[in-house]
């Protein structure tokens, strides 16, 4: 088991008391692809980041079990976790405009990631960076390596991000809405790329998204979160047979090209979903 989470709770202090962002979430992940789907505020990002303990400093985290490859994340010290972050687990964020350093070239950033975790000389790292750019299917890797992030399109920026995260050859990849800022064509390409790389390297993948059908295409299992809880967990191919009304609601409120609709179905939120 790569990741084991049992009864994770994350709370934040506010001016009016404690607010619960994640309530008793339990998930496991082996060498497979797990999708976590939910709307904003459902706690999906926090859940994934808790695996690497990358939460805001004022977060109050408790869990019966929170392990990465049997390392107790809750009790590990910062040094042990730093050996995990990047080297063994990578994190891809939504908008490469904000997650890439604007004053370094793409190649330099990938090379830096390489050297930070694998050591070696500058020339070797630069060559490795170009190799990685080729692996993420960039047609002219040498040119892109010399480019600055603002010169790259959204899709290219995400590919650079992926290359950076793959440089240390990690075992787990967490992708937090990696394609939400991209249009449909590029979305599909990036997700296919991620799926392909993860399968070939035998990695685990946690894909976080608000797009349920999209996630079902690229993951083996899907966990649906609502208001900090996992309301349903199912295999990707069984999505159409989902039972929880929230999951069904998410599927039914989507506009579709297959037939004409007069009005879109609107989610009726049942307060009983807040308990489980």
């Amino acid at each position: 088991m790569l990741v084991e989470i049992r009864n994770l709770r994350i709370q934040f202090p506010t001016a009016t008391g404690l607010s619960e962002a994640v309530r008793n979430v339990s998930l496991t992940l082996g060498q497979e692809k797990l999708g976590i789907v939910g709307e904003s505020g459902s706690g999906k990002s926090l859940t994934a980041r808790s695996i690497l303990r990358l939460l805001p400093p004022n977060a109050i985290v408790t869990a019966d079990k929170l392990t990465f490859d049997n390392i107790d994340v809750m009790r590990a010290d910062e040094i042990a976790l730093r050996r995990v972050r990047g080297a063994r687990a990578g994190l891809i964020l939504q908008d490469p405009k904000f997650s890439l350093n604007p004053v370094m070239t793409a190649g330099a950033q990938i090379a830096e990631a390489w050297r930070a975790h694998r050591g070696g000389g500058r020339k070797l790292a630069e060559q490795a960076a170009i190799d990685l750019l080729a692996q993420v299917q960039i047609r002219d890797p040498k040119h892109v390596a010399r480019a600055y992030p603002h010169e790259l399109s959204g899709g290219m920026g995400q590919r650079v991000m992926i290359a950076m995260m793959l440089a240390p050859d990690p075992e787990l990849l967490i992708a937090d809405e990696p394609t939400s800022a991209l249009d449909a064509t590029v979305q599909a390409e990036i997700l296919r790329l991620i799926e392909d790389l993860v399968s070939r390297r035998g990695m685990g993948l946690i894909l976080i998204s608000h797009d349920l059908p999209l996630v079902s295409h690229f993951c083996d299992r899907v966990a649906v979160m609502y208001a900090g809880r996992v309301v349903e967990e199912l295999a990707a191919e069984e999505l159409l047979r989902a039972r929880h009304p929230y999951t069904r609601g998410l599927l039914e409120c989507l506009p579709t090209l297959s037939h004409r609709q007069k009005r879109l179905a609107v989610m009726q939120r049942d307060p009983s979903w807040l308990e489980s």
Binding site: E39, D183, L214, H217, L250, C253
Partner: protein, 249 residues
């Protein structure tokens, strides 16, 4: 209602929009789809008056548009932006945001109009004195729509209005937009990269690729697969493939 003829927009050395022409009938919903960089948003911004480097001919309700728009134009044509977080002034309450267009156009009965505006977009009166950071994404977008409708426009330009919203909120906002169009007889131009959204709301659709308008077709034709240009076909195929959850191994 809206006629666009040979619109060209340049950014420095790059031609973002290459001789685009289409027309929109009063009360119609016209959709513009394409990938990022296809120029669809640029067309909208040129039409709205935000972008001044265009050539060609545009007219709204028979009046040809000059590069600098009149106040009257802004009363008749309004825009809703993509990012609900970014389109509301962070330091102004909803009340202030909604009263701004009324004050600019010297309209009376500000109090009543604001209450009516909030009501129309199904926002409770309690949000009236909140700041944008205290509202959810869906609420912010409703405020943006209410603001656009304050001056009683005839045309709404919608630049990816639901792309940044959760799917359930998107459904509500799309239904709202449909209702408002019926109630006020509005003309819409909707820009989006999401074909399903555009086909749902719009009657006719223009497909853009690399700055050119490559096809004009009806929503029914798009749904039925009666496309002519290969780009349209590939966009449609991808959309259908991705929207159906995978059901087999």
């Amino acid at each position: 209602m809206i006629e666009i003829d040979g619109l060209c927009v340049r950014f420095g050395g790059l031609e973002a929009v290459k001789s685009v022409s289409f027309s929109v009938v009063r009360g119609e919903s016209f959709g513009l789809v394409g990938e990022s960089g296809s120029g669809k948003s640029t067309v909208l911004r040129a039409l709205s008056g935000l972008n001044l480097n265009w050539t060609g001919r545009m007219s709204v309700d028979g009046q040809v548009l000059a590069p600098r728009r009149s106040k009257d134009f802004h009363r008749r044509v309004q825009m809703v932006f993509q990012d609900p977080y970014g389109s509301l002034h962070p330091r102004q309450t909803v009340d202030r945001l909604l009263s701004e267009p009324l004050q600019v156009h010297g309209m009376d009965n500000i109090e009543r109009r604001i209450m009516r505006g909030l009501n129309e977009v199904a926002l409770p009166a309690t949000v009236r004195f909140r700041y944008p950071h205290q509202l959810s994404g869906g609420q912010r977008q409703r405020v943006a729509i209410a603001r656009a409708l304050m001056a009683e426009p005839q045309v709404l330009l919608l630049d990816e209005p639901t792309s940044a919203l959760d799917v359930s909120v998107q459904a509500e906002v799309l239904n709202l937009l449909m209702d408002l169009q019926q109630a006020h007889g509005l003309t819409y131009i909707l820009v989006s990269h999401n074909l399903a959204v555009v086909a749902h709301l719009c009657d006719r659709i223009g497909v853009m690729q690399a700055g050119e308008l490559v096809e004009l077709l009806s929503a029914d034709d798009l749904r039925g697969g009666r496309t002519h240009h290969p780009h349209t076909a590939s966009l449609r195929e991808l959309s259908i493939e991705l929207e159906e959850p995978e059901t087999s191994l």
